[in-house]
Every structure is written in structure tokens, then in C-alpha cells.
Symmetry: D2
Subunit: 350 residues, 4 copies
């Protein structure tokens, strides 16, 4: 397969997730960035000036000199990666799909739409078939697919590995990093020596999205998994890495050891296992008593593995454990990239 | 009632909880400090030198000049407040009780002993009657009573207020402050840009202690409440204030509004309501979406009120909410003081 | 002197400094708040709703229910305390002074104007005489006086105490707290595990303002002190308390001990010593090797004392030492209040 | 040049600097680790168990399985890298040098000894000639050389580049990271919402070491540079990266632009420029107003470049600017490695 053969545009490239996309695309074997879009404030300026770069890794030079374009169809591209805020995504993404682009979106606007696939390629790649239905219904020459909320990714991979034992319900309490709120995001005055026990809209997403991701596609529709979830979400002063404490009720009463084996043995489905963003071990299981920790473990699998630890019997449900996801890689930019790769595979183009 | 009429000793006075005891005793209307004890390293030195003072409030001058004594019976005192580490408390506290002192301990060593009251005076003051049984069994001329683990206090007050609705089981996830680990405690290198998902021994205490506190005393024994608890505990970089996310299953399906009313209306039992450490409102309920927050709310009721917020229906159990306790006041030093007052009342001395 | 006999308005009451003013005024013996003003977004709403309250101390109930007014003359008040942003202050404050109000401003807009007193009452109360000149020049029936930049206060008090030894020049490096940037201020993403070595406009103020404060008023003008200052300013992740490292060249080579004595012995001039905001010891000197520390020492003198420590011989200049100021009390809200009191004294009204 | 042809031992391998050495050696082209030593507590255990690994990068597998040895001569090695605490280094390092090992030490014990080179290879590689004198005096078959204190590295490189303009004196104020204190180091309770204005022994080192590094070797002795330095050191809650604010007096009054050119143009002397740890640009100059920042800039040049910014005219001296060093790479582990390479070059072995 030739290198850099697909032309890619990043929508909303100046924000936090946009910057991570630019960073990850710098090393991507297939994708060549041809356009970066931004808001009115940024359009017409070089990306290097328009963007307040927040990553420790330096901005790629090719990006610094690109002129930011308006977020409108018009450029030549095979793929569009959207890091737009949800309210803008709601209006703009359908226009791109209608204009023939394949849109892999990180925005929440269309995640729960019945004809839009909500996909993690190593969890439910078969849901990509919804795109056929989408084309029929919407008449788009392009297509739109979405990845889940960042915190959802920490929850779905372990639950997927436990599905054979009958996942019935779960309690989820998250400790979420600052980067999840974008930039400028949380004022330092609010979070030094403090915790914020509230993130707008987050609990609703966390209680709903896993049901669709773990659901079954049949007759052109996803039937959500029969799974009750209760979520409480907190903002804590870490930079990257969302930690989730889970208690899970299973139909079958399995031991922590069996659960650890099932999670560590979980592998991506064959049809996506060779994609550039796939990791051989989507779930890394740690056995030390004090892991995972955000700073030490968030980069497992290049930020694409969820790290699980503290798997114990739960006195109320079956098991309790802790899961960590790199919220801006597996939970956002890397997720959108992985979806774009999977969609190209589904379309038979790779 | 005369001021400062009881002579008090603080065991383990140089540690974090010991310092809070010294601070709170400075303003206490009944108690006069007559002895501060410490480890070999400190004995014989003025407290002001032996102790690395960590509170923002300055050390009281009377304390600075007191000579630290060994942790052995021998001084004249009516009361002993113990801030000893558990392994030392296990050996030393019975010697004090045998020597005739009334010992109010913050240590975990004897909390679950069948003849030792585990008490929060505004929750289960009737458990103090165990002291009669204790005297029979142990033959002590003094007595020993204990307060719960710091995090337990955030859980027990709300559950107590909800007991009329039939509390069946609960999930508890804590975000605990640094001061809970004492001094030196957590190295900064481990907690900046990080979370530690593990606190040794903490989950076990949190799953067990509330059952005793909410249990029923009959025939000289506490029968633990029939209540299943599952706990996951995390260390976060706040200075003071433990936050707990709870999901609670009740026998009766009540609304969040009813639960908030029940918690806000909870009052200390009459026999303890006029004690110096009692607060008229043990549970403060906040209705803003983003409260309680440790830094803003930990000093509610002078640090003796638990603050509850985000009371919502739970998709899995009945209710979910967040509770905050000041871990070194309501959860430790203030708890021991309150217990000492309640024990004096029980003994008919006040 | 009767209590609460002056009617006070706070301009820009919803911001960080405005909130501290409301907090300090709650306990002020002379001042009764009659108006709180805010921006268009806030006007007409109760202060309790319009203001995102950031202090740990709760909002005073009387403030919560006051309706926010536009920042325009029109209300009846004896005094106006201005916490306005500089660009707005520049336009609005003269209108208030012209309309007859006595304006004590925390804004930087007019600090260096030749007919506007820049005052710390325990440093240069005689500069208030500039108000006579101001009235002649401007024709205002009211008056305008200002307090210095927050960091300046940490520098000026120690230098004032050392003036008898001939202060020639000084290097100043600050480590400034988050609250100095107001709200929302510094994004947490920029300051966790980080330092910002830049604060816009701050170095210029710090190199200039002390010269005016330590200058001599003669013939209706302040002649700046002949004193060279070099400043470097940094933002660090503390909540309150600006720390400054100083190296000072004196004409007379004195010992650290002599300097400590001079600073500890510094007293407010008699004409202001009994004002409510005056502290008997404007400079507190600590002799421990590791003090002052922002969290432990910022509340010295109720936040109105500057704390000095680590006084040592300087291998390059004469002395080096560290000074700490509570930036939002001594450095802003408390400074404006103290100025208002001093101006009333100057006007013979108290 | 063959890969991995020198056998290396790391003394004090379980500490913070020892861990960084292990990490950097994993990628080193010349050096093969043959021994890791530790204290009695660690000896005989696999490094992976004995060491509480603190880096985000995982421990190299070869290190995890090595058995920790006592810190005594006895193993076969060409080189010894010492990360020992100073008091142990004082006793042990001479024994290694006497036993024939080439010892590159990070400890402060012998830095100022007249026959021990204190070296940064891209600053004063000629000082290695002191090793001949050392051999004469001490009669060692091996040799001992040292690298400076971590903070010193941030100061010496810029001053070296400015030496042609006549550096006369300088003020230095540091904001130092937590990792500089080793592990466990600073308790989180002391540094959250706080600054510590004191680091034991640090100011003395910072005022002395640059004089030796910038001195002239003649007749078998280093004559210290005639340079007055005044230092104030602070601990701040960053993980890695020491920031220093400097004001420098030069004999020649040059512009900030000229200084920036001189620093950016500084190159390592030819005899060390091709060593594995050499960087082409030892000083990276940033022109943005708010750089360098520890988190964004500490990894410049793989952690071996000092980053300078905010170069401005100084109202008191000639120039003021800010310099950043990665304290555990350029300031410790990388410095010792670079010295070992330079010593091998000096000895004609590479």
C-alpha cells in the first residue's frame, strides 16, 4: 500500500482535538493533510499563527505554514476528519456528507442518529453497514460516521470483553482530565485544590452511548444493548487521561482472574486488525494494586489501549475495576482516525 | 457549665490529626489541654519544636511551649483523645482505658471490636451504651470509644437520613484529599498531573464501618445493618475534603426532591444537640449543578457538616448523589472531640 | 465613631477584586454598601445570580439580593470603590470624580497620572495632598486616588523600611498567584505541571510604581525616588499570595539582622494607624529558613501584612530576601479600602 | 564505531537520577549496562522489584531482571556512572577511582575539589586535562569527574555564550521542579497551592559552581572566573524542568538581539560535537513573549538543550532573560553520560 495516498481535511483544526489530529496525522502512513479549517477568526491566517498550540510535541512545520480555510465544502479531499464543536457540527457535517466527502466525526451531534454509525473499529466494525442505509435515507454521495464520547471509550472496551458473561448493568464514576474540556476550558482558579463534580451533558452520554456501541445491527438499524448504566462524572486536575471506576453486574458470576484473562485476551476483529491505528492489545490489564494511573499509563499502546486494573469481586454487583483511556487519543483524535481507516476498509478502498 | 473544666491529653499530637486536635481544642469551651504525647523522637522537646506544623492557622502559643510526653499513662487527665497510628493504638489504648482514662480514639484498631462503640453522636449516640458492656467484659475503670474512618463520615450521614426509606445497597467511589494520608504522606511527584486509584485498607473500612454505625444495639451487642456496600477509593490532589459519589438502592422509590428534603431536615438527636461540636444541620444540601466542591464547601458547619449535592434519579439503583466531608475535622479530629463530649454526656458528667 | 455611616458603591463588583471588596465590606465598621455595579450582562439581575462567586467564604446575604446597577453616576453614595478593568476605568472613573464622588480605585489607568495620588496609607499618606492639586487642575467636586499593582505592595513596604539606609537599586523576581489574573484568568491546561514566565504589562508596573510611592511630594508634584528597579514576573499555580525574591543595593552596608530589625519595627504613620484596615505590624519578619510560604503566610495581619523572610547577605548587592503579599487583600481590595479610609481622614471626615 | 562496546555500571540506580540513567542508557549507542547498584534494602533483588519506577516511559526489560548489587568495586566495567547521594559518594567514589574505574559522577561531593574536573563537555571540555593532575596527586589508576548541579546547567550555557562580552555579575532566581528533590522528595501537602522559597544547599552551589565551570585551566589548576553571582532558589509544583530568571551585567552594553544571536549561535567545541549526547544547538532561543515554559520546552534537544527566552534590556544591569533546563536530563543523568563520553574521547578511546 502506497504511503500518504488519501487527501485529508481537518475541520476545526485549531482546537484541542484538532491539534491532536494534526499531530497524529504527521506520522500517519496513509493520510496527507490538504486542508485545515477554522472559525472566522482564524480563516486566511497561517495555522502556525492562528492556533495556540498546546501539545508538548512541536507543531509539524507543514501545518504551521498552511492557511486556515473556512469550514465549508470546496477543497479536494478524500476524507474529512471533524473536530468541530457539536452545535457547529450539527449544521455543517451533513453539508460535507451531501457534497460527497467521507466524514469521520468526533462531535456528539449525530452519534445517536439512527442512520449514523457510532463506531469503535475494534468493538463494532459491523455497524459500518449502517452507511448503506444512511445513503438510501439521506441520498448523500458521501457519508458520516462518528466515534463516541471520550469517557465512553474507557467503558466500552472492557464491557465488550465481558459481554460473553452477560453484562446486565454497571455503575460508572469518572475522574476526567482537563484536556477533555478543550481550550481554554477549566479556569485554574476552579481546579487547584479542588474537584468539580459536574461536566455538562457528560453523564447522559455515558449512560447512553455504550448501549448503541454494544448493540446489534439488524435490518438496517442498531438495537441498543439491554444494559442499564448509571454515571457520575468529575473533573480533576490531570492533563490527559480519563479514569473510570466501574462496578459491573454479570449474568454469570466469574472470578476477577477470569475477567482479567478475558480482557487481556480481547483482540480486534480480523477485518480491522491491520489498520494503522489498530493496536494488538486494545485492553492492557495491570495487576499491581495501584495501577492504572493517568500519568504513567495513558500512553499505553500509543494512547490507543485502554488500561484496566484493580479487578476485584464487588460486594454489590459481580466485579469492580478501574479503566483508563487517553481521552484525546483513543477518546477523540485517534478514534476519529481509526474510524476513517475502518470506513475506507469497509468501502473497499484499502 | 463552667469553661475548660475537663483536663484533656492528646496522644500522637505531632501528626496531622493531632495538630487538628490541638487547633480545635484551642477554641473548645470545655476542654483544657494538659498533655501532648509523641514518639521517642519528640519526647522531651517543646511541641513547637518537635512538631512540623502544617495548618494555615498558627500553632496556639500554649501548645508551642508544652513539653512532649511519652505515650504512657501517668499524667492527670479526665479525657484522652487519641490520634495514634493504628498499630500503636492497638497496643496502647487498652492500657489507658485500663488505667481509668476515658479514651476517644480516631484510630481504626478497635473500631470493629464487638464491645467498643463506633460512634457518630448525631447518628448513633445510643451505641454508647456498649460502654457498660465493655466495662463488664474488660474490667476497665476507664473506657474506649472510636469514631469512624474519615470517608465513612461522608457516607453514613446521608444514609442515616435515608434509612426510613429502606437503604438496601450502595456503590461508593471516593476522591480523597492528601491530608487523609497524614504527613509526609503522598509524594508530590506521584500526584501532580495524576490520580492514585488505591488507598491501602480504605475500601474494606468503607464497606464495613457504615454497617456497624447504622446497626442496632440490642442485648449488649451491635447487630450490623443489613446493607451491601461496594467501595472504590482514589487519592486526588486536593488538600482537604473527601468527595464521595454514591448510588443508593432504596426499598421505597422516592424522588430526588424527597431525598433532599429528608437529608436537609435531618437533625441531631436531642441528647447530643447542645454539645459544643454538634451542628444544627449535619447535612447541608446544595441544589446548584456543580456543588459540593471540596475547596468551596469543606468548611460548612465549621467543617462538621456533610455537604450533599447532585441528587438525581439513578438509572440502576434509586438515587445517585455526591457527598463531601472535611476529612480532618468531621472525619477525624472533630469526630473524636464530638465523641468525647458525647461520652461525658452519657456518663452524666455534663 | 458611629458604625456603617458612609454609603459605599463598588464598581465592577462581579469580578475577582469586586468579590473580595464585597467580602471585606461585610465586616467593615464604617462602610455600608448601597450599590454594586457590573457590565451589561449583569445589570438588572440580583448580584447572587449575576456573579460567579469564587471565594471560600460564602457570599453575604445582603449582597446576594442587591440588583446590579450600570457603572454610571446616579446613585447616592459617599464613596466609590473601583474594581474596574483598566480600560473601562480610564473612561468611567473621571466621570464619577467629576460628579462629586470620592473614588478609591484599584485600576492601573491613572496610577501614574501626575495629579492622582498613588498611595499605600502606611507608606506615603502625605501624597494624599495631591488631591488638592487635582481639584485645582481638573475642577472635580469629587476626587480620585489609586492603590498600586498587587505585586508592588510586596516590594514597597520592605523598601520603605530600608529607605533610611539608602536604597539604590533592586532586582525583583515574582512568583504570582492565579487570582491575580482575575476570572476566568489562566486556563488550568496552561499551568498544571508548568510555569508561565510572562504576565502582560506587569514588569513595567513593578519597575515604575515603587518609584512614585517612595517619592517625595513637593510643590504639588511627586518627584519619583531615585531608584533603579529590574523586574521579572512569573505565574505559578498558587491560588492567592504573590511571592517576590528581591536583591537590594543599599548605600549603607547593613547586616541581615539590622535589616530584619528595621522591617519588623516599621510602623504605620500615626495619622493612619487607627484606621480600620491598618495593621500594627505592616511587615512581619520570619526567621525560619523556609518561610514565607504563600499558603501558610498569606493571611498574616488578616491579609494586610507583608511577610518577609530569608534575609541574607547578597554577594552582588547588599541584601537578598523574599517578600509575600496577599495579592487580593493587601494587593487589591484591602488596599482600596484602606485608601478610602485614609482619604476620609485626610478630608477631615473621620 | 561499534555499538555498545563499553561496559557501564550505574551506582545508586534505584533513585530518581539512577532511573533516568537506566532510561537513557537503554538507547545509548556505545554503552552496555553490566551492573546496577543500590542500598542494602535493594541488594540481591531484581531491579524491577527493588525500584519504584517513576518515569512515564516503561522500565527497560533488561533492567527489570538485573539483580541489584552492592555499591562496591568488584564487577567488570569500563565506566561507572554515579547517581549516589553526596554523603555516600564522598566515601565510595574514590574507592572506585582507586580501583581503576572511570567514574562520571552526578554527586556534589567532589565538584569543587581542586583536582576533580567539573565539566559540561560543550562548555569546558579542556578542563578534562585536570585528570592528568588528578592521577599524579591521587595515584589512582582510574579517574573521577563530575557534572554540575542541575540548576547550574541553566545558568552556565547562556553565560558561556555571553563571555565574549565580559560577564561581570548576575542575579539568579530559580523556580525548580519536584524531580530535583528525588523520591519521595517533597510531600504533596507542602506544595499544592504553595511555593517553598528554600532548597537546602542549593543557593551556595549556584553561586559557586558556574565560577569553576567558566574558569580557566592553567598549570594544573582551575582559576575560577571573576564573576559575582547571587542566587535565590524556589521549589514549585512542576514535575521536570528548572526555570531560572537571570539579570546579567556585561562589560560591553549589547542589545537583546545581539545576545540572542550569540546564544543561538553557540556551538559545542569541535572535539565533543560528535559525541552521542552532544546537541548541535546547546542553547535554543525563543522569541515568543511567554516562553520558555517547563512543560512545553523541557524536552528541547531531547532534554539536552537549554531554552532561553524573554531576553530584554535590564534597567539595573545589562540584560535580563529566562533560561530553562531539563533538570534530570541536561541537569543530571544526561550530564553524567555526556561527561563519560567526553572522558573516553579525552582518553583517546573513542
Amino acid at each position: 500500500m502506497g504511503r500518504k495516498r488519501f487527501r485529508v481535511a481537518v475541520l476545526g483544526a485549531t482546537g484541542m482535538v484538532g491539534q491532536w489530529l494534526v499531530h497524529l496525522l504527521d506520522r500517519h502512513p496513509w493520510f496527507q493533510v490538504v486542508a485545515l479549517t477554522g472559525s472566522d477568526r482564524s480563516v486566511g491566517r497561517p495555522y502556525g499563527e492562528a492556533c495556540r498550540w498546546l501539545l508538548s510535541a512541536p507543531m509539524p512545520p507543514w501545518a504551521a505554514s498552511m492557511i486556515v480555510q473556512p469550514t465549508e465544502p470546496g477543497f479536494e479531499a478524500d476524507l474529512v476528519l471533524s473536530a468541530l464543536p457539536s452545535e457547529i457540527a450539527r449544521e455543517v457535517e451533513p453539508r460535507f456528507a451531501a457534497a460527497g466527502y467521507l466524514v469521520a466525526s468526533n462531535a456528539s451531534a449525530y452519534r445517536m442518529a439512527s442512520d449514523v454509525p457510532l463506531v469503535m473499529p475494534d468493538v463494532n466494525p459491523d455497524h459500518l453497514d449502517l452507511l448503506s442505509r444512511q445513503r438510501e435515507i439521506r441520498g448523500w454521495s458521501g457519508a458520516l460516521l462518528t466515534n463516541p464520547n471520550c469517557t465512553t471509550t474507557a467503558v466500552v472496551l472492557p464491557l465488550k470483553a465481558l459481554m460473553p458473561y452477560g453484562v446486565r448493568r454497571a455503575h460508572l464514576v469518572s475522574l476526567q482530565a482537563l484536556s477533555g474540556a478543550g481550550y481554554p476550558g477549566v479556569p485554574a482558579l476552579e481546579i487547584v485544590d479542588n474537584i468539580l463534580p459536574y461536566i455538562a451533558g457528560e453523564e447522559e452520554k455515558l449512560e447512553r452511548e455504550p448501549r448503541k456501541l454494544l448493540g446489534r445491527l439488524a435490518n438496517g438499524a442498531v438495537r441498543e444493548a439491554d444494559l442499564a448504566l448509571s454515571a457520575q462524572t468529575n473533573r480533576v486536575p490531570t492533563l490527559d487521561g480519563h479514569l473510570v471506576c466501574l462496578s459491573v453486574e454479570l449474568a454469570e458470576r466469574i472470578s476477577p482472574e477470569a475477567a482479567m484473562r478475558a480482557m487481556a485476551a480481547y483482540r480486534p476483529p480480523e477485518e480491522v486488525a491491520d489498520l494503522p491505528s489498530a493496536v494488538p492489545q486494545p485492553i492492557v490489564v495491570r495487576t499491581e494494586p495501584d495501577r492504572p494511573q493517568p500519568r504513567l499509563d495513558r500512553m499505553a499502546g500509543g494512547g490507543m489501549s485502554v488500561v484496566v486494573g484493580r479487578v476485584q469481586p464487588c460486594p454489590v454487583f459481580t466485579l469492580k475495576f478501574v479503566a483508563l483511556t487517553h481521552n484525546t487519543i483513543r477518546g477523540a483524535a485517534g478514534a476519529a482516525l481509526f474510524n476513517a481507516e475502518a470506513a475506507l476498509r469497509w468501502a473497499g478502498r484499502v
